[in-house]
C-alpha cells in the first residue's frame, strides 16, 4: 500500500462560458508524500484545476481519481473532501466563523472527532502556526498575514492526507513568508501548491509544472 497515487487526473477538459476552454486534456498524478508545484499565467486555470480535483467544479470530460477511487458523484467527493486540506486564495472566504478557535475547530468537528480531540487539535495547530493566544480573536479583525496563517491552520486541523494550496505565500511579509514555507516544508503529505513564486516552489516542491494552453508542462529545477 501507500504506492497508489493520491490524485489521478486523466484527460480533464473544462471551459467557462465567458472564457472558453481553460483546461484541455490535462493529466496529473500525485503520489503519497509528493509535493507538486503548479505555476502559470493569470487566468490559465490553476484555481480551476484545484476546484475540479475536489469536485467543486465538474469537468466537461475526463476522470478524477482520489485516494485510488474514481469520483463519480457528489457523494464520493463529500467523503474524499474530509481527507483533503484546501487553502483558498482569499482568506476572508475561508474564515467564516467569528473567532479563530471556532474556525480551526469547524473542519475537525465535521469529521466527527470528539470535543477533547478537537480541542487538542486547536491547541496543536495554534502552536504550529505560532499563534498561541489567538483562539478568541475575531477572524475579521486579524491582519492579512494572520488571516493567511489561520486559513492554513483550518486546513492543517483536518489532518488531511492531501493538501491543495492556492497561492499560500502571496502578499506575505518576509517573516510570515518564512513561517509558511517552514510549515509546508515540514508537511510529509501529498501537496499540490499553486503559486507564482517560483523561488518558493523550488524550496518546497519536488516537481514543478507550468499550466499553459490547458495542459501541464514540466519545468526544470
Amino acid at each position: 500500500m501507500g504506492l497508489r497515487p493520491v490524485v489521478e487526473l486523466e484527460g480533464i477538459t473544462f471551459s467557462y462560458p465567458s472564457r472558453g476552454k481553460v483546461l484541455d486534456g490535462l493529466s496529473l498524478r500525485i503520489m503519497p508524500g509528493e509535493k507538486v508545484g503548479i505555476t502559470g499565467p493569470n487566468g490559465s486555470g490553476k484555481t480551476t484545476l484545484l476546484l475540479i480535483t475536489v469536485g467543486l467544479l465538474k469537468p466537461d470530460s475526463g476522470t478524477v481519481k482520489l485516494f485510488g477511487r474514481e469520483m463519480r458523484d457528489e457523494r464520493d467527493f463529500r467523503e474524499a473532501r474530509l481527507r483533503i486540506g484546501f487553502l483558498f486564495q482569499d482568506s476572508d472566504d475561508q474564515l467564516f466563523c467569528p473567532t479563530v478557535e471556532e474556525d480551526i475547530a469547524f473542519g475537525p468537528l465535521n469529521q466527527g472527532r470528539s470535543e477533547e480531540e478537537v480541542r487538542e487539535i486547536v491547541r496543536e495547530v495554534m502552536r504550529v502556526l505560532g499563534l498561541e493566544g489567538f483562539e478568541g480573536r475575531f477572524s475579521h479583525k486579524l491582519s492579512y498575514g494572520e488571516k493567511r496563517l489561520v486559513a492554513l491552520g483550518t486546513a492543517l486541523a483536518m489532518r488531511p492526507e492531501l493538501f491543495l494550496l492556492d497561492e499560500p505565500t502571496t502578499g506575505l511579509d518576509p517573516d510570515t513568508y518564512e513561517r509558511v514555507t517552514k510549515i509546508l516544508d515540514s508537511i510529509d503529505k501529498a501537496c499540490c501548491i499553486v503559486s507564482h513564486d517560483i523561488g518558493f516552489l523550488e524550496r518546497v516542491a519536488h516537481r514543478i509544472y507550468r499550466l499553459e494552453g490547458g495542459r501541464l508542462r514540466p519545468m526544470f529545477i
Binding site: L56, D90, E102, F106, G107, V118, V122, F138, M158
Partner: protein, 238 residues
C-alpha cells in the same frame, strides 16, 4: 463592527446560560411592546438598567448603538403629532414608542450583545430555532463587516478618481454601479465561502466546540428573571 462593538465580557449577566437570556429577552420584548401604563413601564425599566449596568458597557458605545433607532423615532415625533386631530394623542403615541423601543433595545444589548455570536447561534439551535435562520444570522454577523469594507474600498476607488456626489445623473449612475457591484461581489463571495465550507466537510449542521450546561446558577437566574416577568404580567392585569 456593530456586532461585538460593545462586548466587554459581560460580567455576571454573561455567566447566565444564553438560552435563558434569549427567552427572557424575547418574552420581555413582547410584553413591553404590549404595555402602555406608566407604572408597568417604570417597573419594566428595571431589567434593562440592571442588565446594562451589570454588563459594564461603555456609555459612548451604548449611545452609538441607540442612536440609529432613535434617529428613526425622531421622525415619528415630527410626523405623529400631526397625524391625529388631537395633537396630544400623537405626542403620547410618540412618547410611548420611544420608551418601549429603548427599553427593548437596552435589554437586548444588556442581555445578548455581551455574548459571542457563535454562542448565541448555538443557543438558538438548542432552542430548536430553524437551522437555516441560525446560519443566516451567523453568516450575516461575520460578513456584514466584510461587505462594509468592500463598500469602503469601492467608494475610495471612486474618490481617488475625483468623484464628488451631487444631484445629477452621473452621481445616480455611479451609486447604482456601486450598489450593483457590491451585490455582485457579495453573491460571488457567498459562493466561494460555501465552497470553502464544503471543503471542510460542511453538511448543513453547524457543530460547535462548547456544549451548553444548565447549572445551578442558571436555575437561580431563570427563577429570578421568571419572577420578574411574572411581576410585569401581574402589573399589567391588575
Amino acid at each position: 463592527m456593530a456586532i461585538e462593538g460593545v462586548r466587554s465580557g459581560g460580567g455576571i449577566i454573561g455567566q447566565i446560560d444564553p438560552r435563558v437570556r434569549l427567552i427572557v429577552a424575547f418574552v420581555y420584548s413582547v410584553m413591553v411592546a404590549l404595555e402602555s401604563g406608566p407604572l408597568p413601564l417604570a417597573y419594566a425599566s428595571a431589567l434593562p438598567l440592571c442588565a446594562v449596568s451589570a454588563a459594564r458597557l461603555s456609555p459612548g458605545a451604548l449611545l452609538r448603538r441607540l442612536a440609529p433607532a432613535n434617529l428613526f423615532i425622531l421622525l415619528l415625533w415630527l410626523i405623529l403629532p400631526f397625524s391625529y386631530p388631537d395633537r396630544s394623542v400623537g405626542l403620547h403615541h410618540a412618547l410611548l414608542i420611544t420608551v418601549r423601543s429603548n427599553l427593548i433595545l437596552l435589554t437586548t444589548i444588556g442581555l445578548l450583545s455581551i455574548s459571542p455570536v457563535f454562542q448565541l447561534a448555538r443557543a438558538l439551535r438548542k432552542l430548536r430555532f430553524p437551522r437555516k435562520l441560525t446560519q443566516l444570522f451567523l453568516l450575516s454577523c461575520r460578513y456584514i463587516p466584510v461587505i462594509h469594507d468592500e463598500y469602503i474600498r469601492l467608494r475610495n476607488a471612486m474618490r481617488v478618481r475625483g468623484f464628488k456626489p451631487g444631484t445629477n445623473l452621473h452621481t445616480y449612475r455611479s451609486y447604482a454601479y456601486l450598489v450593483g457591484m457590491l451585490l455582485l461581489r457579495s453573491y460571488e463571495r457567498s459562493e466561494r465561502i460555501y465552497r470553502a465550507m464544503l471543503m471542510r466537510g460542511f453538511d448543513g449542521e453547524l457543530r460547535t466546540l462548547r456544549t451548553l450546561d444548565f447549572s445551578g446558577f442558571d436555575a437561580l437566574a431563570s427563577a429570578l428573571l421568571g419572577a420578574y416577568l411574572i411581576g410585569m404580567g401581574v402589573l399589567k392585569w391588575v
